[in-house]
Amino acid sequence: MASMLPLTPYQIIAPLISLLAILYVWSLVMKQKKTIWEGFLWTFFWTAIAIIALFPPVLDYLAFVMGFKDRQNALLITFLGVISFIVFAQIVRLEELEQRQTKLTRSIALRDAGLDGKHQCGGECCKR
């Protein structure tokens, strides 16, 4: 691991931030604010950041495996993927919020008209 010596400031700071982030995530898991699945997911993500910082040649291997020409391309594509995932997650969240708002508006309309919760659906349509 000749590339590890001497350590650059980035190679020291990135793993430290990763460690703190992992500790923070698991503290949220303990407080039941995040699921165990999310805990593992974020641990995987921050561990990957730390490993890439400490062992940059890992990116060469990744570039080779994924068919990229060099490590810079691999890094760029990886982060584009991460950003795409974040945008997608935000869209999903927005959709959820919009659906909640619509549900609330519809409930208010039916309640104001005195027509809420009287139909006999056997619970089927109300479950969804």
């Binding site: 869209i91 999903v92 959709e95 919009e98 659906q99 708002q101 619509t102 508006t105 519809r106 208010i108 309309a109 039916l110 104001d112 008209a113 027509l115 809420d116 919760g117 009287k118 139909h119 006999q120 659906c121 056997g122 089927e124 349509c125 109300c126 969804r128």
Partner: protein
């Protein structure tokens, strides 16, 4: 069978009275789902004899339709007819649309504006063709006029339908519901009346693209 008409309406004060009055001749009751209109749609519809449910804010045609369906269920509907508030649909077509339901040949009836000679602008035909293709791509079921608001829900569909899409995407979602619940489907040709007003209120190209993208996204998220 108790037949209730559901008319989603947004800023249709000038036309809703006529639609309600004509529709009442063919059904037991009319429900107008006022989708946050800023004009007198709700009051005019009430005076015309409709039961009105009002969204405090505009949510979209799909949300208004589902609110109307919920209201109709509460009012004891066995069969629900949905139609547009802009006089595009002729309520005199309701009896022929009800036939497959009353004859127990279908659970859900789509009106088909292209099933008989109608003066439909090319741009509308094009948008509907795209809508049909997107619907087919996401549901696997071909419907000749999937985007038409004139539909009839039979007892089984009234019982099972649960729309989640707020905007015009709900037309595609209804096809999906039909496929998911294995409803028997019928298509009945209808007359359609396009006026300058109706055309001006219709969907723009940008809205059509947005709707298509939302359909694809929602189908992925489910």
């Amino acid at each position: 069978m108790r037949v209730i008409a559901v008319i989603p309406a947004y800023n249709e004060a000038g036309r809703i009275a006529s639609v309600v009055e004509h529709t009442r001749k063919f059904v037991d009751e009319v429900v107008v789902a006022n989708d946050g209109s800023t004009d007198d749609t709700a009051e005019v519809a009430r005076r015309a004899g409709a039961t009105v449910v009002s969204h405090p804010q505009n949510c979209g045609a799909g949300a208004a339709t589902m609110t109307g369906i919920d209201a109709a269920r509460s009012l004891g509907a066995d069969v629900i007819v949905t139609l547009d508030a802009d006089e595009q649909h002729d309520p005199r077509d309701i009896p022929s649309l009800l036939q497959p339901i009353l004859g127990d040949r279908a659970d859900f009836v789509f009106a088909n504006r292209f099933g008989q000679k109608n003066r439909i602008p090319f741009i509308r035909r094009f948008f509907n063709a795209v809508g049909n293709l997107v619907t087919f791509a996401t549901t696997g079921r071909w419907v000749n006029d999937s985007q038409c608001g004139f539909k009839v829900f039979g007892p089984r569909a009234v019982h099972e339908v649960a729309l989640r899409m707020s905007g015009y995407e709900f037309c595609t979602e209804l096809v999906r519901e039909a496929v998911q619940h294995k409803w028997r489907i019928a298509e009945v040709p209808i007359k359609v009346l396009y006026s300058q007003y109706t055309l001006a209120k219709g969907q723009s190209f940008a809205n059509g693209v947005k709707t298509a993208l939302r359909i694809l996204l929602r189908s992925f998220l489910r």
